[in-house]
């Protein structure tokens, strides 16, 4: 937001202005440039961030950054895609097989295992990314993904571990829906505060984050109400009962394998796009996001949309927490409460890099999932680079991406260069 006070640079005789017929072309060209920038800028930013990260690797350890990144790439299992052959894919619910370039039946190779881990991480990143993105589209910054994710996870693990006599599907649905509602409720508090008394949502959601963190530590800590029934000296929740766990569709269920929550994340991307672009709710949310005053003059209730957008945003984050619990974590300990829930912060980077667009969030989610997985202690080859270092490298790269994309540095830089060039051309030496 820039200051609009003062005198707008209006003036008289248009000399350099193009003739009216051309104005359309200029506008169209600008739109095209923006759209191109919308793809180009995130790409360049990512490359720049990786370059800086590479320099850090080189400067501090003297190791070859390319080898390091290759190890991370393989740690993320992305090399799986390069093992092309003639394989078959069974179409779900049938016995029919179709030819497929990749070997999905290979569930035990290291590449396949690593890729499964990446896709497991992809799920919460996309969902928390969508949470941030949805609020952004309504003109709000939901920095409370952590708290909302936790709310979903806490409620998810609670319902998932209690009520043992429910049919599996009902149990899962119940746990997930309750998690979604918990996330929506928490974010809704911030939404209501913004709508009624104008509390800045950033402040409110930061406070709610930490309230949830300490609530989580309280609940699962020793002597806490939801602490494990059978292990009195471990600060962890009960396990989700087997029937309430999501089905595994790729990988060895004994290890950590890809669950059907992956499809929930993909579906969420579609739902996100449809909600924004094909529903009256999305229309209102975008109108309020672009210009709350005009929306208000047009008869749209700004307060209602602030609340709804925040609640929906929180629902995405709550979904992420619940899916993680019933999908692969199955339990949550106090350490997770402090650390893993920070995955929601990466959602901010995902949303920013993805430009709050469904496809962008999907791609950025994949990138960060790969990065997170590829640098984890379990996946990165310690011979090549210490995973503990690489984990922090990931955080650094995330920071750089947020810094650069959030500021549109490259766009600004390019615009400035162009403007300066024009000014130089326009300014003649003074008399």
């Amino acid at each position: 937001m820039t200051e609009t006070e003062g005198t707008p640079p209006e003036g008289g005789g248009k000399v350099e202005a193009p003739p009216p017929g051309d104005a359309l072309n200029v506008a169209r060209r600008l739109a095209v440039a923006q759209r191109a920038g919308g793809l180009l800028v995130p790409l360049l930013t990512t490359i720049l961030a990786f370059l800086i990260g590479g320099l850090v690797v080189l400067a501090t350890t003297g190791k070859n950054p390319v080898t390091t990144y290759k190890a991370i790439f393989e740690g993320a299992g992305l090399n799986w895609f390069f093992e092309v052959g003639s394989h078959e894919l069974r179409i779900p619910f049938t016995q029919a097989h179709v030819p497929f370039p990749w070997n999905v039946n290979d569930i035990d190779s290291l590449a396949a295992y690593n890729l499964q881990q990446t896709l497991i991480n992809f799920v919460p990143l996309v969902l928390t990314g969508l949470a941030v993105a949805f609020a952004f589209r309504c003109g709000m910054f939901n920095i409370g993904g952590q708290g909302q994710y936790l709310a979903g996870a806490i409620v998810g693990v609670w319902i998932g571990s209690e009520l043992p006599n429910l049919p599996g599907l009902v149990h899962i649905l119940l746990a997930v829906v309750a998690g979604v509602l918990a996330g929506a409720l928490l974010a809704g508090i911030a939404g209501i505060l913004k709508a009624t008394v104008g509390t800045h949502e950033v402040i409110a959601t930061i406070m709610l984050n930490w309230i949830m963190v300490w609530t989580g530590v309280f609940l699962f800590g020793l002597g806490g109400p939801l602490q494990n029934d059978t292990q009195p000296f471990v600060p962890v929740s009960n396990d989700v009962v087997d029937r309430a766990k999501l089905a595994i569709f790729w990988g060895d269920p004994a290890l950590q394998a890809l669950h059907v929550g992956f499809f929930v994340a993909l579906a969420a991307l579609v739902v996100y796009w449809l909600t924004l672009n094909r529903t009256t709710l999305g229309y209102e949310v975008r109108a309020v996001g672009f210009n709350p005053e005009a929306a208000h003059y047009g008869g749209i209730s700004v307060a209602r949309n602030y609340f709804l957008a925040m609640a929906i945003s929180g629902a995405f984050a709550g979904l992420a927490g619940a899916i993680d619990i019933v999908g692969w974590q199955y339990r949550i300990n106090t350490n997770d409460v402090m650390i893993s829930s920070q995955i929601a912060f990466v959602g901010i980077a995902v949303a920013l890099l993805g430009r709050n667009k469904a496809i962008g969030v999907g791609l950025a989610g994949l990138l960060f999932a790969a990065l997170t997985t590829g640098t984890s202690t379990r996946n990165l080859d310690p011979e090549i680079f210490r995973p503990e270092l690489a984990t922090n490298l990931t955080v650094m790269i995330q920071g750089l991406v947020v810094l650069f994309v959030g500021a549109d540095v490259l766009v600004l830089y390019l615009l400035n260069v162009r403007k300066r060039g024009r000014q130089r051309a326009a300014t003649r030496p003074q008399a």
Partner: protein
Amino acid sequence: MDERPVLELRGITKRFPGIVANDAVDFDLRKGEVHALLGENGAGKSTLMNVVYGLYRPDEGQILVNGKPAELGSPKAAIENGIGMVHQHFMLIPVMSVAENIVLATEPTHNGIFLDYAAAEKRVREISARFGLAVDPRAIVQDITVGQQQRVEILKALYRGADILVLDEPTAVLTPQESLELFTIIRSLTEQGKSIIFISHKLNEVTEVADRITVLRRGKKIETLPAAGATEEGLARLMVGREVLLRVDKTTSQPTAPLLSVQGLTVEDDRGIEQVRDVSFEVRGGEIVGIAGVDGNGQTELIDAIAGLRRSKAGRIVIGDEDVTDDTCKECLDAGLGHIPEDRQRRGLVLDFTLAENLALHEYDHPPASRYGWLFPKRLIDKARGLLQEFDVRGGGPQTRAGGLSGGNQQKVVLAREIDRNPKVLIAAQPTRGLDVGAIEFVHRRLVEERDEGRGILLVSLELDEILSLSDRILVIFEGRIVGEFPPGASEEELGVAMTGGGRKAAA
């Protein structure tokens, strides 16, 4: 009067992308004179003065202060050269005291470290006594009146030793009495040797207060002439470049039943001050009712209350036969209200939406635009295509961003949207502000057509010309009250008297 110029501008040119705001403008200011800079909105007056005050750098040209070339690259440099400016939007910090605002950046101190509030207040008292500008140095700026705030601005400049004062549209925010007081202050300042540049687009003020007048039009200087002997008609011709003739062809109105009725309406502003007091009037179908008044006499609050954007304190509002008192904005619109808001860029349009989306702002939530919350973008686009053609919107199609259009075309989009809803009553607030002549004519013609269709139109405008040429009845608002009703043939003088509070007795 000393003939030596204290300030001289030679060939000042200032360009903005796509526009030349000042085109080789020459200007000079003599010691102890009031030199008015006259021109329409957007003629380049403010740009020129921002160049003088160091806020803009000119692309070409030279500035001389007291005969010597001066580099005015920043406000600081301008202040050092004895130039002070009173901006149209005050540059005051509302939560700070008068004294703090005045001494800011040149504060008196103890030992060069600590603020010396006592000294600051003392100095403020001294200069305010010397120039006859009474203010309380301890008062908090947000608690004092606009007129007093303006004095603080003038004091700020004088405190910094300004010999040249630039007043940018100083009367735009003042009540008539405050304007008269300002003129007295200006005279006392020039008597003490200060030179004043007075920016205005109001002819009567300029002839009253100025010694010389320079007319700007479309960034170019047209003429400098002595105020003595200048006529308003002559100045108007110079300003606009043609005879001013804003008459709209229209037949006499055929009013039908009342479509909007306001009774005993009282509205408070955000600070709890009554801005509309016991206002009653009716707008009938087939007539245009104009509300004339100086800015800030309750027009905004009145419109907001009728449009459901602000709660009323007392009174009743009826649209058609539906009581909409304190209904929400949506309910008012549904009752048959169309609203062309004052500021189309901030309130009328979502600039980042496409034209199709903007045109659907009232239609999006019911068929055919949507059903069960499901939106049909194709239908919005088809609908928009027709409307854009009907209202002759140029510069883009249904999928163009609204922000990419010119002001006139943007206003046509707003007009199209509000009229397409087939409203019973149409509120038009400053519908032609900042538009070019062609767009103004279009808007005016369309408003008259809608009147002839049988709608009731409430026109609120600060431009007396517009009120006089469009209205079938004229109501004058002053300090939140309707102080008089006039026929369309009323003279500017009659209205002017009423707008400045003189007509109150006549109305009572």
